[in-house]
């Protein structure tokens, strides 16, 4: 185990794993964060900020041992608010003070802070719950859970090379996560990014060893563009079927995944791209000038990671600031309303499926040009599936996809190491992943609690009929 000196304090992610020192820092860090966040929200609710500092520090500090501090944050929106005029305390959703009729005004920064903290907390808690339950599984099978996790995080984070490998593992998942997220946001349950990934990968490899006469940068760009188009076109098939013929996309995308996987395998196993004498089912290697540059020594981390980051930015922009993003949101929230308002729902579905496929294609191209340098049949170890998990976890937010993918990268690359250094198989990571989906499905947020209280707050005061007097006329 290469336990080198540790430049990154990975206790930020898991204080308890780094012994007493980590726990101490965890208490201090999360106590401070808790105090600051709670005080800010208390101020926005016109309550006493000092009690917020004390309460937040306590709650954050206690939680910081286990990194359960976010559990506290998720409850913050439920803090009651106090009327600045008459001092009456009312429920957080109240629009008007019940005591004096003062109309509460929105404090945008507090709303933003709450939603930010809430989203982060939800993701962290979901992952933590998954790790805790997997830990129980480990303990039940006679392994030391804490030690396993320590190795997992150390080998995913502790050295520069470990971190590079985590980013490498995250790269394709960022693309597929983004691709799945935009489709999910439009209400399309697209499971077919994996298929687009294969089509894109094959296209990139083909360009990479065919147009060898082109200068390096042009060749790489051409390969990416062709891969994106191939992936996008693949996404258009179920898109067209859904938009025009109302065919259920779940079925078509799952089936088209198999078609893509088998088609690409055929192409390199016995089809036109078969290379005689090659032992495995792989294509010719791409030209050397088509290979992406490496970013870190002794790691395969390559410049496709940078492209992935650019895509995150582009997708944030598309979702937040463009007409297409608006149409995507509206179609996802209520397609019938979108139609009644004049949004061209079919066109939106087609465009979204195309972009979804493009991102899948880019994922495949990145793997081919940056890691394998050829197309190998069935090379993807469920990148499309990982992307789906992350999109669910991130609730389709591009930034959330980035965070989730980085975390999955750590788990994936760390998982490879634990198989080498402990007797825990890498399947642990799959268990964790499955549990994450499980806890996402349970929907670990307390929004519903807030909503319930809000509804009550909006209701007029009830003048109940005495139950023991049923003859009231």
């Amino acid at each position: 185990m290469p336990r080198q000196s540790n430049p990154l304090p990975y206790w930020i992610m898991a204080p308890i794993l780094q012994g007493s020192g980590g726990v101490l820092w965890g208490i201090i860090l999360w106590g401070m964060v808790g105090a600051a966040v709670t005080a800010a929200i208390m101020i926005s609710r016109n309550r006493d900020w000092r009690s917020g500092v004390i309460g937040g520090a306590l709650a954050g500090g206690v939680g910081g041992v286990m990194f359960l501090a976010p559990l506290w944050f998720i409850l913050l929106p439920l803090l009651d608010k106090k009327c600045p005029q008459c001092g009456a305390v009312s429920q957080p959703g109240a629009a008007v003070c019940p005591g004096c009729g003062y109309e509460f005004t929105e404090t945008p920064w507090a709303e933003t802070l709450i939603s930010l903290v809430n989203n982060a907390a939800r993701v962290i808690i979901t992952i933590e719950m998954a790790l805790i339950v997997s830990g129980l599984v480990l303990e039940l099978s006679g392994k030391d859970a804490l030690d396993t996790y320590r190795v997992l995080f150390e080998s995913g984070l502790s050295t520069e090379r470990a971190r590079a490998n985590s980013l490498l593992a995250a790269t394709p998942i960022i693309f597929t996560g983004l691709g799945t997220a935009i489709a999910f946001r439009a209400g399309i349950f697209n499971v077919g990014v994996e298929g687009s990934l294969y089509m894109g990968a094959l296209a990139a490899a083909w360009v990479g060893f065919t147009f060898v006469g082109l200068p390096g940068l042009m060749l790489i760009m051409l390969a990416f563009v062709v891969a994106a188009l191939a992936g996008g076109a693949w996404g258009l098939i179920p898109g067209y079927l859904k938009a025009r013929l109302r065919v259920d996309e779940v079925v078509t995308t799952i089936m088209l995944n198999y078609v893509a996987i088998e088609f690409t395998s055929y192409m390199v196993q016995s089809g036109p791209l078969f290379v005689p004498g090659m032992a495995n089912a792989m294509s010719e290697s791409v030209a050397e000038k088509a290979q992406l540059s490496r970013l870190v020594e002794r790691s395969q981390l390559n410049s496709s990671f940078i492209l992935a980051l650019v895509c995150v930015g582009v997708m944030i922009f598309i979702m937040q600031r463009t007409r297409l993003g608006y149409e995507t949101r509206l179609t996802g929230d209520n397609p019938l309303f979108a139609r009644w308002s004049g949004v061209m729902v079919g066109k939106t579905i087609l465009l979204v499926m195309f972009i979804s496929g493009v991102l899948g294609g880019l994922a495949g191209a990145g793997q081919v040009l940056g890691v394998h340098y050829n197309f190998t049949a069935r090379f993807s170890r469920g990148f499309g599936f990982d992307g789906m998990t992350i999109a669910l976890l991130a609730r389709n937010s591009p930034l959330g996809v980035l965070v989730g993918a980085l975390l999955f990268g750590v788990l994936r690359s760390g998982g490879t190491t634990i198989e080498i250094f402990t007797d825990v198989p890498i399947d642990l990571v799959d268990i964790v992943q499955a549990l994450i989906i499980f806890f996402v499905a349970i929907d670990l947020n307390l929004d519903f609690l807030g909503q319930r209280r809000r509804v009550t707050a909006d209701q007029p005061p009830v003048d109940p009929v005495p139950a023991d007097n049923p003859t009231t006329a």
Partner: protein
């Protein structure tokens, strides 16, 4: 009055209750002080409602009067915020429909709860199949259904598949299902809405046989002739309150109509004004539209709407209104005929084109067609114009402009909300309708389609919607008001057309139109 011919006592009252029920008639159901709040709306306000055993009791009132809520409470689908229910003298709580069924209360819903792929007998017995060891005793099941069907005159073959049956026969299956479960109190939610006149008569015969057996029925409707012909008593609800309970033998239909409507609807008085006959906003020429089942739903509708005119389109729901609106909006294909909007033929144009020609739409189903509850207020208010300047340029949204526009709409239309980024699902019904109105009417449309624009709203919100429609009318917009609410039509229309089975069967002016005359036309009796 309710007369129990055979004196069947299904739930003998407790001895101590005998004093209260010493008369021949027995109060079977008593609902006392039932109150139910929904955000911003009092659906039921201290309602007292009682039904004698062996009577058919009508529950009448307009849409949004609180009939359905009251019956949902009785059937265990909603919990009351206050109040008490007693059945044959025993206080009961009904937390869910299963509990209601166990108490002998059962309901025929407006939308049938049948499994189309199963046979009649299987549907009727579903969940209570006669068994022989571990197996369903099919012969016994069919025999039992057949026995019930002859006993009550509900003619239906137990072995046919439900999907092959007409709507009227499906309803018989629903009633059989209730009888199979031995319901003592049957709630029928607008049972006649989907039936032909002959089927309605058959239904009434069945109901009469039921009460002869000592069963009791609550009949939800807003059709007065039916109430008069089959019910013994009627309770009238209006705006969540009981207006009164009347005995049919001593009442005229006009009395009930007046009780249903009250007087506050007429607070807004139509001001007759000159209508520019030359400026035609909307022309429909022999329009034919098919419904989802590919059957003709709109059959040759021709009409015009002038500038500055409110044209009311009356009709019982399901006579082609929905298909007509969808064709006008541009999301349902027109089979034949023309739609001219401001003299531009838009028959085959998309929704967006029509909106750009000045059409505004207040859809009937607010939460599905008119709003996106999960989206923010800003997204909802800008949904019809987000793609135009200044809201977006070259595909990029100007979020600041959208926010400012939303803030302005909040002020102008007095939407009670904390800000543009609030999700619309948190708003009350009236407030949510203001969002629809703000989006559709903010920029002076020339032609407004308003479908049930005040359904389920309280008085204040209704007045708001009506005054907005008047404002736009005075700005020379043409308005087509599609409503099932006769009083609304009479109160604000300049002309009233009646739609029956996809055809316009009459045109009246509000001066000559009466409820009775409209009612006859809506029932398809042209003369």
């Amino acid at each position: 009055m309710a007369i129990i011919t055979k004196g069947v006592v299904l739930f003998p009252p407790k001895p101590e209750g005998m004093g209260l029920h010493s008369t021949f008639f027995m109060t079977y159901l008593q609902m006392t002080g039932i109150t139910k709040y929904f955000p911003g709306v009092v659906a039921n306000d201290a309602i007292n409602f009682s039904v004698e055993q062996g009577e058919i009791h009508a529950l009448v009132g307009e849409n949004g009067a609180g009939k359905s809520t009251l019956m949902k409470i009785l059937y265990g689908m909603e919990r009351p915020d206050a109040g008490q229910i007693t059945i044959a003298g025993h206080p009961v709580t009904i937390p869910n429909p299963q509990a209601a069924i166990n108490l002998g209360i059962d309901m025929v819903h407006q939308h049938f709860q049948l499994v189309p792929s199963l046979t009649v007998a299987e549907n009727v017995a579903l969940g209570h199949e006669p068994r022989q060891g571990p197996f369903v005793d099919r012969a016994a099941m069919i025999a039992r259904v057949e026995e019930l069907s002859t006993r009550f005159g509900l003619r239906v073959d137990p072995t046919t598949t439900v999907a092959d049956l007409s709507v009227g026969v499906q309803q018989r299956v629903e009633i059989l299902k209730l009888l199979y479960r031995d319901a003592k109190l049957l709630i029928l939610d607008e049972p006649s809405a989907v039936l032909t006149p002959q089927e309605v008569e058959d239904l009434f015969d069945v109901l009469r046989r039921l009460i002869e057996e000592g069963r009791t029925a609550i009949f939800i409707t807003h059709k007065l002739p039916e109430v008069m012909s089959v019910c013994q008593r009627a309770t009238v609800l209006r705006r969540g309150k009981v207006v009164g309970t009347v005995t049919m033998a001593e009442t005229q239909p006009e009395t009930i109509a007046q009780m249903m409507v009250g007087r506050d609807v007429h607070t807004i008085q139509r001001q007759p004004r000159e209508i520019a006959r030359s400026e035609l906003r909307l022309i429909l020429r022999d329009l034919h539209v098919k419904d989802d089942r590919d059957l003709p739903a709109v059959r040759g509708v021709s009409l015009t709407v002038n500038a500055g005119e409110i044209v009311g389109l009356a009709g019982v729901e399901g006579n082609g209104q929905q298909e007509l609106i969808e064709a006008l909006v541009g999301i349902r294909a027109v089979e034949a005929g023309d739609i001219l909007l401001n003299r531009v033929n838009v028959t085959h144009e998309k929704n967006r084109f029509r909106r750009e020609e000045g059409m505004a739409i207040i859809p009937q189903d607010r939460n599905r067609q008119g709003l996106s509850p999960l989206s923010t207020l800003a997204d909802n208010v800008t949904a019809t114009r987000y793609y135009q300047r200044p809201f977006s340029r070259f595909g990029v949204l100007a979020t600041g402009v959208m926010r400012d526009f939303t803030r302005q709409a909040i002020d102008q239309f007095d939407i009670r909300v904390r800000g543009p980024n609030v999700r619309v699902q948190t708003l009350s019904g009236g407030n949510a309708q203001k969002v629809v109105v703000a989006r559709e009417l903010a920029e002076l449309p020339t032609m407004i389609l308003a479908a049930q624009p005040t359904r389920g709203l309280d008085v204040g919100a209704i007045q708001f919607v009506h005054s907005e429609l008047f404002r736009l009318r005075d700005e020379n917009a043409g308005i087509l008001l599609i409503s099932a609410d006769l009083d609304e039509l009479l109160a604000i229309s300049d002309r009233i057309l009646v739609l029956f089975e996809g055809e316009i069967v009459g045109e009246l002016s509000p001066e000559t139109a009466t409820r009775e005359r409209l009612g006859l036309l809506m029932a398809g009796r042209v003369n």
